[in-house]
């Protein structure tokens, strides 16, 4: 008996073996050889031959060595069948998509809508919440505001700002800016420009440097400094054509020559300023020196390195507390707050931006569901391909990756096309979200592009995963054999498609409901009575020449002169003037208090909208007199008053004024009393303002917007109360073309140096205040319209698919005597079931989310049943329309043809 172990070992010796289980392998192979040897011997082979044959078979040197090395030596794990080959997948995907061009086009278009809308909205959210402001170390920039006892915030009085700057330690620097429209004298007459009054250090605080020359220094910003100005970049370009020789030249503003010291570089917080001048120069002229004056001034500050907003806020509250004690008359109850600059700038638009972002996200979800439905419908035509690839050994992850690659290609195509749409949309967006301009503007930058690509990736998974998983089901071969009909896969596919349609209808229902609520609000707001009659009323802004030594009585003379001239124009029914015109950004609240009672504590001081009007104003506007009387010439007339704050104050302290108050003011402050003949004091007690006697009560008129309630209001008499700018109002008995020209001529004749800056129909002014509402509705309306269209398309495609699959069943029914109308009803009922479920879910979701839109509504709540019913009706009609064509096709099935299909 040969030693098989030894024989085998010898045979294997030449293989350079170094295997761990060397001896065991030798033993096992030896056993095999011996078994084989015995078998051969038993079959009659000679022993010598049998031994050689057995050894040869068992230890076929080259093959055995190779195989053993492959198994026994540590080789890299086998994964060739698992590796993802992106390039190959992309090539294959492009080929596949190219074969289905029209489907590809539809899918890319639908995705472009969804991704494009999201990219455009992202640019707004990016500016508001994500992207740093475009200033050096923007996280240190804050807005510091004063807070009145009534809540909210208010502009900062300049003396308070000076105390803040001197007393605070949390800030590296601080700057204040006010703004006044003023007349610029040019070769062709006067022109209105926006003059920004800034403190030295305002631009340094922001980190904005002059483009040329110098900025406003501490030396410029002190009493008695030579008058100077710094041009804004825009103004320099528009008025000097970017001439680099402007430094040292002068501009004449309100008859005062200002030396141009520099040009500022353009920056996002310019807010339309044409010129920058030191704020000290406006101290007396605009009343910046008064602690009571909170008008149009804003403070920005830069936190000291390492200081937090909270620390700064705590410190500012302490300082405000000190000021309130030191100046109880003007500062009693007034606090301070510190707000990160970006939060402050974005604040107002935040809610509608978030709402619109939510709306476009819903839109994208609908687009995804829509595309997923289309891809699943395509499953039927791709089953065979998938079956072959599975049969050829492709693993499921491989196929899913392949299909997701195709989805990604579609989504990237959608993103590319969508970016084109977003580019157009972004240009229009600042109209809807004005705050983005101050935040540095929006555009199609790399961030938006990156967002779109990311959105495309997520989108591809969102719409591609369900179809990919369904395509590659292990039982797909069964599905093919079953002919695609009635099989489990086909039933599931139908189920998925129905669920997708239900989802689309639900999402569309949410958007339509939201748009409906905004529409109801707009309709209600438009239907609100203004309290006056704006028809055929034109308003013109007249700017009187504003010399430093001007006499304010001359302004009155100019107005009276113009009114007289206009009253003589044929067709003019009445003419009047007012300083704070309703619906034209009136910005004047005035404190007052009843002087027949103890003066209220500073934080209890009432305030009301304040205006100064001529006697004819009420007649022009059609504001009714409730009791008492309007103004008469006999109420008095002011003497010459110099145009500076101390002179005006001195005059006011010397007279008793008359006033007409509105009903709201009468009701709120003289409840249950007759206000006629009663008196109040104008201004906070510290102002020692004039006593005012109430001579009449007028009907309420809205001032700030149709969707905002009428505030308490009092009118001073233009003859008594000094005014700067006024709005001339003219009521005509018929449409008067050329009225603007007539007004300009009347003003030019009365005072050649006066400027008419605008003439607008009152209707247009009122309409403008609803602009934001209209914009919001326009946007959400557009989104919900697209959503409705997509949902209808989804339902249509699904119903067409179902009808096609059930042709045979329908044929049988018709052969058995079902009428065409019954078949139609059957199809419509099925569509209605899907639409109904989607609608119920959508309306419930809208109800649950109603608080998101609450603050944008007027006159309705988020739970307005009429709107929900209307939205439901619109959706159901759209869905019925979408199911009409498939229903008609079903009812035209020829029973014989349908049966022959079997």
């Amino acid at each position: 008996m040969p030693d098989w172990n030894e024989l085998v070992r010898r045979r294997l010796a030449g293989l350079n073996r170094a295997f761990e289980r060397d001896e065991q392998i030798v033993e096992e192979l030896a056993q095999h050889a011996e078994d084989r040897f015995r078998e051969l011997c038993a079959g009659g082979v000679a022993e010598g031959d049998a031994q050689r044959m057995a050894l040869d078979e068992t230890t076929d040197g080259a093959a055995l060595g190779r195989e053993l090395r492959a198994v026994e030596s540590p080789a890299p794990p086998e994964r060739s069948s698992w590796r993802w080959r992106p390039l190959q997948d992309v090539r294959y995907g492009l080929r596949t998509l190219g074969k289905a061009q029209s489907l590809t086009a539809v899918i890319v278009a639908v995705l472009a809508l969804g991704i494009g809308a999201n990219a455009a909205m992202f640019s707004v959210l990016d500016a508001m919440f994500l992207r740093p402001l475009r200033y050096p170390e923007p996280e240190r920039l804050v807005r510091v505001v004063e807070t009145p006892p009534s809540g909210g915030d208010m502009p900062v009085a300049y003396p308070d700002f000076l105390d803040w700057a001197a007393g605070s330690r949390s800030f590296a620097s601080m700057g204040i800016r006010g703004s006044q429209p003023q007349a610029l004298r040019g070769p062709e007459g006067s022109e209105r420009v926006r003059v920004a009054y800034v403190s030295a250090g305002y631009h340094e605080t922001l980190g904005v440097a002059p483009e040329m020359g110098r900025g406003i220094s501490a030396d410029d910003d002190r009493a008695g400094a030579p008058p100077m100005a710094v041009l804004s970049h825009t103004f320099w370009m528009s008025h000097f054509g970017g001439d680099r020789g402007v430094i040292g030249r002068t501009v004449t503003v309100d008859d005062q020559a200002l030396t141009i010291a520099g040009v500022m570089s353009a920056y996002s917080l310019e807010q339309g300023a044409d010129l920058f001048v030191p704020i000290t120069s406006g101290g007396d002229k605009w009343g910046y020196n008064m602690r009571e004056n909170h008008s149009g001034t804003g403070v920005v500050a830069r936190l000291r390195a390492g200081a937090s907003v909270e620390e700064a806020r705590t410190e500012m509250k302490l300082i405000a507390g000190r000021l309130a004690k030191a100046y109880p008359g003007s500062n009693g109850g007034v606090g301070a707050d510190v707000i990160p600059l970006r939060d402050y700038l974005g604040g107002e638009m935040r809610q509608s931006a978030v709402l619109m972002a939510g709306a476009v996200a819903l839109l994208l979800a609908i687009a995804c569901a829509n595309v997923a439905g289309l891809l699943i419908a395509r499953a039927a035509t791709r089953q065979r391909e998938m079956a072959i690839r599975i049969a050829m050994g492709a693993s499921r992850p491989q196929l899913v990756l392949q299909l997701l690659t195709e989805s990604l290609l579609l989504a990237l195509g959608g993103a590319a096309l969508g970016l084109g749409a977003a580019w157009a949309g972004i240009a229009a967006l600042p109209r809807f979200f004005p705050a983005v301009v101050s935040l540095g503007g929006i555009g199609l930058d790399w961030r938006v592009t990156a967002f779109s690509v990311l959105a495309a990736g997520l989108t591809a998974v969102a719409f591609g995963l369900a179809p990919a998983l369904q395509f590659t089901r292990p039982d797909i071969v069964d599905a093919i054999k079953a002919g695609g009909r009635g099989s489990r896969a086909s039933v599931m596919r139908q189920g998925t498609r129905r669920a997708l349609v239900v989802g689309q209808v639900a999402l569309a229902a949410m958007l339509v409901t939201g748009a409906g609520l905004l529409m109801r609000s707009l309709i209600l707001a438009r239907g609100t009575s203004t309290g006056f009659d704006p028809s055929r009323v034109a308003a013109a802004q007249i700017v009187a020449p504003d010399r430093k030594d001007a006499d304010l009585a001359n302004n009155l003379k100019l107005i009276r002169d113009v009114i007289e001239r206009m009253s003589a124009v044929p067709g003019v029914e009445a003419a009047g003037a007012v300083d704070n015109l309703p619906f034209d950004n009136p910005d004047s609240f005035g404190n007052f208090y009843r002087d027949d009672r103890p003066a209220p504590a500073p934080d209890q001081l009432p305030s009301a909208a304040k205006a100064t009007a001529t006697a004819g104003y009420f007649r022009v506007m059609g504001i009714p007199l409730i009791k008492g009387r309007f103004f008469e010439e006999s109420d008095g007339r002011m003497p010459p008053v110099k145009r500076d704050i101390p002179s005006v104050l001195a005059y006011l302290r010397s007279v008793e004024l008359v006033a007409v108050i509105n009903e709201t003011m009468a009701r709120r402050y003289w409840p249950g009393e007759d206000p006629l003949g009663k008196t109040f004091r104008f201004g906070p007690p510290s102002l020692q303002g004039p006593r005012v006697r109430i001579i009449g009560v007028a009907g309420d008129a809205r001032q700030f917007g149709l969707d905002r309630p009428a505030e308490p209001q009092y009118f001073f008499f233009a003859n008594q109360f000094p005014q700067l700018d006024v709005r001339l109002v003219v009521k005509t008995s018929r449409e008067t073309p050329g009225l603007a020209g007539l007004i300009r001529r009347a003003v030019a004749e009365a005072q050649p140096a006066a400027v008419v800056t605008s003439v607008q129909p009152m209707d247009a002014l009122i309409g403008k205040t609803l602009g934001r509402r209209r914009n919001q509705l326009g946007m959400l309306g557009l989104f919900s319209g697209i959503a409705l269209l997509l949902a209808a398309l989804g339902l249509y495609a699904t119903m067409a698919f179902i009808v096609a699959q059930r042709t045979q069943e329908i044929g049988v029914r018709m052969a058995l005597g079902a009428a065409a109308s019954q078949v139609r009803l059957m199809v419509v009922r099925e569509a209605a079931a899907m639409a109904g479920i989607g609608l119920a879910i959508g309306l419930a979701a809208a109800w649950a989310a109603k608080r998101a839109i609450a603050s944008m509504l007027y006159g309705v709540t988020g739970a307005d049943l009429l709107t929900y019913a209307g939205a439901a009706l619109v959706l159901l009609l759209a869905m019925l329309a979408a199911s009409y064509a498939p229903a008609r096709r079903a009812s035209r099935v020829d029973p014989m043809v349908a049966l022959r299909l079997e």
Binding site: Q24, I25, E27, E28, L29, Q31, H32, A33, E34, D35, R36, E57, T58, T59, D60, A63, L64, E67, L68, A70, V71, E72, A387, I388, I390, A391, P474, V477, I480, K481
Partner: protein
């Protein structure tokens, strides 16, 4: 056990199916290498033959993957032999491979039009 009747089998297919064959052979009872090679030959009526030079490396590979487990068994008066039995994991693999195989056969029939439903 799949029925492979064709007298000539494409070597590629043979390779792919060898694992399945071995797993199904050790499913019922533990078997040693020689026995496995004999069974393959018998059951395929001689169409499939594995030489020891390729059979044993394949056994080791399956063992390394944890699908089968080899154990030395000594019997009185005989040399010890290495018996292979199916592990739990191997049983799972066998089940899916069987399904896959069945699907493959059906799919191929369908694609090549061999089956007229």
């Amino acid at each position: 056990m799949p029925h492979i009747a064709a007298p000539s089998i494409d070597p590629e297919w043979k390779k792919g199916s060898a694992e399945l064959l071995i797993l199904s052979l050790v499913e019922g009872a533990p078997r040693h290498g020689y026995e496995i090679s004999k069974l393959i030959e018998q059951r395929s009526q001689g169409a499939l033959r594995f030489h020891a030079a390729s059979l044993y490396p394949l056994l080791y590979r399956l063992e390394k993957r944890g699908w089968i487990k080899g154990l030395w068994v000594e019997k009185a008066g005989e040399r010890r032999r290495r018996f292979y039995r199916l592990t739990a994991e191997g049983a799972k693999v066998l089940a899916t491979q069987r399904d896959g195989w069945a699907a493959f056969v059906r799919a191929m029939n369908l694609i090549t039009g061999a089956e007229h439903a």
